[in-house]
């Protein structure tokens, strides 16, 4: 690196990603908020950060701009570790649109926006022409010019959000972080805000927006990063990330994802939860279950079993399966197999052991693939009571004949059949 990092207003374009987060872990108090998160964001990207409350979105943003120091891992902004940069240099590289700010003192809108120039103006000089021009431009883009002279306490909540966006634009940084930027905006200004941010991305900046509303994220962002349980559980274009199973286990809801008829972006509908979470059954007579999962079908099931206080083992699962990630996150022991290896005899032996030690076996409504046949047979042979969850009727699943035969044995045997996870929990209780 050449030159003093403090003097680089906007770092000259290099191949370095604007933001590069490597194996980041953050603990707040006793809680591991982020654990082993890695993320790279390039120029031109508008990334939507989604996830349930408390998943660590805000923590990720705060760490990205150096406000929080990670316990381990590193954050680089435009090539340099953010921890090594002086505050001024960080202020020239990262701008933040905060979630909410109490602006109760009588600064005018223009004065607040002008504060965005702070990292650019030397201590002993005033703002120059270029600074004033940047402030005016930022106000025009966010449509706050018309009330520029009004004191900030006198503007509405929605107008204030735009003022904060204007301040971040005036900061003129390659990276823009937005924490729920449109929560208090009407649909029109929500659209304008994201269009502005998308334009900025088009100009070669990068933006990361924590967005609570999945539809908004799907609609405006080209890349969605799903944060749940302290890690990134999915990352990619909305069409591939916002699927029922990903959303389902990240947010622990049953969700249906359909394309929006107008925008053709995925639209997420959360299904009403039949049983409120607090109402989990009392300690059931069954203490230990083994779950046959796979294909990302069992996320909510595993979460509910865990919440009901049941000890669960899971498997066999291929290593990349999102069910495996959920099981891991819940600290359940998992029988993992290589993605392409299939189930070998050794695995079946270990499965038999787990099944024998369990009080019951639960078969999630997995696709009945050929590879699953020996697994289901082993369960049927074990004599341990088995319960099948049939949220989807079998004729809507992928069904291989061998697996179907084994499945029928299970169902006819001592099995109970539950139409949903809550129903299953009732049975187990």
């Amino acid at each position: 690196m050449t030159g003093d990092p403090t003097e680089t207003a906007v770092p000259t374009p290099t191949d370095d990603p604007v933001l590069s987060i490597d194996d980041l872990s953050v603990t707040l108090g006793e809680t591991d908020v982020l654990d082993g998160v890695s993320l790279e964001v390039e120029r031109g990207e508008l990334v939507g950060l989604v996830g349930p409350n408390g998943a660590g979105k805000t923590t990720l943003l705060r760490t990205a701009r150096g406000t929080l120091s990670p316990d381990s891992g590193q954050v680089r902004v435009a090539g340099d570790p953010v921890a090594d940069l002086p505050a001024r240099a960080v202020g020239r590289r990262v701008a933040t649109v905060p979630q909410d700010t109490s602006l109760s003192f009588a600064f005018s809108v223009r004065e607040i926006v002008a504060m965005g120039r702070t990292p650019h103006v030397p201590r002993f000089s005033a703002m120059d022409e270029a600074d004033h021009a940047a402030v005016e431009r930022a106000m025009e883009r966010t449509e706050v010019t018309e009330f520029a002279e009004r004191p900030v306490p006198a503007v509405s909540g929605g107008e204030r959000s735009r003022v904060l966006l204007a301040r971040a634009l005036a900061q003129d940084t390659p990276l823009l972080l937005l924490d729920e930027p449109t929560a208090s905006l009407d649909p029109n200004h929500r659209l304008r805000t994201f269009e502005t941010v998308a334009e900025l991305a088009g100009e070669g900046r990068a933006a990361i927006a924590a967005i609570h509303d999945l539809d908004t994220a799907a609609r405006y962002c080209d890349r969605i990063v799903v944060v749940a349980d302290g890690g990134i559980v999915a990352d990619g274009p909305p069409e591939s990330v916002l699927t029922g199973s990903t959303v389902g286990h990240a947010f622990d809801v049953d969700a249906v994802v359909t394309p929006d008829p107008v925008t053709e972006r995925p639209r997420v509908t959360a299904l009403p939860d039949v049983e409120p979470a607090d109402d989990a059954p009392e300690i059931p007579p069954v203490d230990r279950v083994h779950v046959v999962a796979g294909g990302g079908r069992a996320g909510p099931l595993l979460t509910r079993l865990d919440r009901a206080g049941l000890e669960a083992t899971v498997g066999p699962l291929s290593a990349g399966d999102s069910d495996a990630a959920v099981a891991d996150a819940l600290g359940m022991s998992t029988l993992e197999v290589g993605a392409l290896d299939g189930v070998d005899d050794a695995t079946l032996d270990r499965l038999r052991t787990l099944v024998e030690r369990a009080d019951a076996v639960v078969v999630a409504d997995v696709d009945l693939t050929a590879g699953l046949a020996p697994v289901l047979s082993a369960v049927a042979d074990s004599g341990t009571p088995a319960y099948c969850i049939e949220e989807r009727p079998t004729n809507e699943r992928t069904v291989a004949e061998a697996a179907a035969a084994a499945y029928r044995r299970l169902r006819v045997g001592e099995a109970g059949v539950a139409a949903s996870t809550p129903e299953l929990l009732d049975v187990l209780a």
């Binding site: 705060r62 701009r65 150096g66 406000t67 002086p86 505050a87 001024r88 240099a89 960080v90 202020g91 020239r92 990262v94 701008a95 933040t96 905060p98 700010t101 602006l103 109760s104 003192f105 009588a106 600064f107 004065e111 504060m115 965005g116 702070t118 990292p119 103006v121 201590r123 002993f124 005033a126 306490p153 900061q171």
Partner: protein, 357 residues
Amino acid sequence: MSVARRATGWSASLAVALAGVVVLSAGIGPVAVPAGTAFKAVLEAVAVPTLAGGEFAWRHPFEFSLRESHRAIVMRIRLPRILLGALVGFALGAAGTVMQGFFRNPMADPSIIGVSSGAAVGAVASIVAPAAVPFGLGLEPAAFAGALLTAFGVYAIATENGRTPVATLLLAGVAVQTFLGAVTSFLLLQSGESMRRVVYWLMGHLDNAGWADFVPVAGVPLLPLFVLGCFLVLLAYARDLNVMLLGEEEAAGLGIEVERTKRLLLAVSAVVTGAGVAVSGVIGFVGLIVPHVMRLVVGPDHRILLPTAALAGSAFLVAADTAARSAPQELPVGIVTAAVGAPFFLFLLRKRRVHEL
């Protein structure tokens, strides 16, 4: 209008007002000096530093023919006191503004981290038990040392892992003030014959002020230079103070080294307040209400607020002290600032929104 122009305009107006108050005050007293004479006498006191022939000297550009008694009264008795009041008011007004912005709390004043209580312990100890004061410090040095030690102690108590949360600082300040109040009360009980002097000091006073109070060294008055230096440092951080009103996290995001800036603002405010309190005792309310009043007039921008509040503090304290020494029985000025300031503040509280920054 640009910030610089507004700041200069307001400061110039207030400087003129201050000069007016100084001249008026110089004319008021047991021996009435006509305003014109007082004006000329004050002008005569104006001194310009020169380096004539490589030798440092003060040159007085103005000379008038005045009655010698008038000149002596203004120069030797009234002006030192007036200018000391102006200086202390300036320091308190500036430090109060910075502390309110720093703490984002309208209740903050210059002594919020215990500076005044520390100074009181130092001063009272030097009156009551001079033998117990280390290094044989006199009253003013003891007060100044007490102020600085206390401020540093409060800061150290509130700091953990290099961070000093403002709320912790505030609470630590309150607790330490209470503790030192107990120490002062105890010393007061032991004070015996010197009790009157102790009480008088505690109430804040400017009487018996002389040119020696300006700490002249080789003809250069150090105290005003010191206060001015502190003020310029604070002024250089006025923009940072504005940004810090947004909250520390946002200020950091806008390129402010928050902890370093906090340390510096706190240290400079404590030192300048300590210097003021050491020479004048505890003068309450100037540092609390003057910044509020000026905020109503000029707005929250510290680049304008800081110089105007300092000048207004100056003028206010000079006026209050003039009233204090004009009373049938001379009063400590602290009584006047509180007696006048508190009702005025309550009036503002009812009429305008002074409870916000």
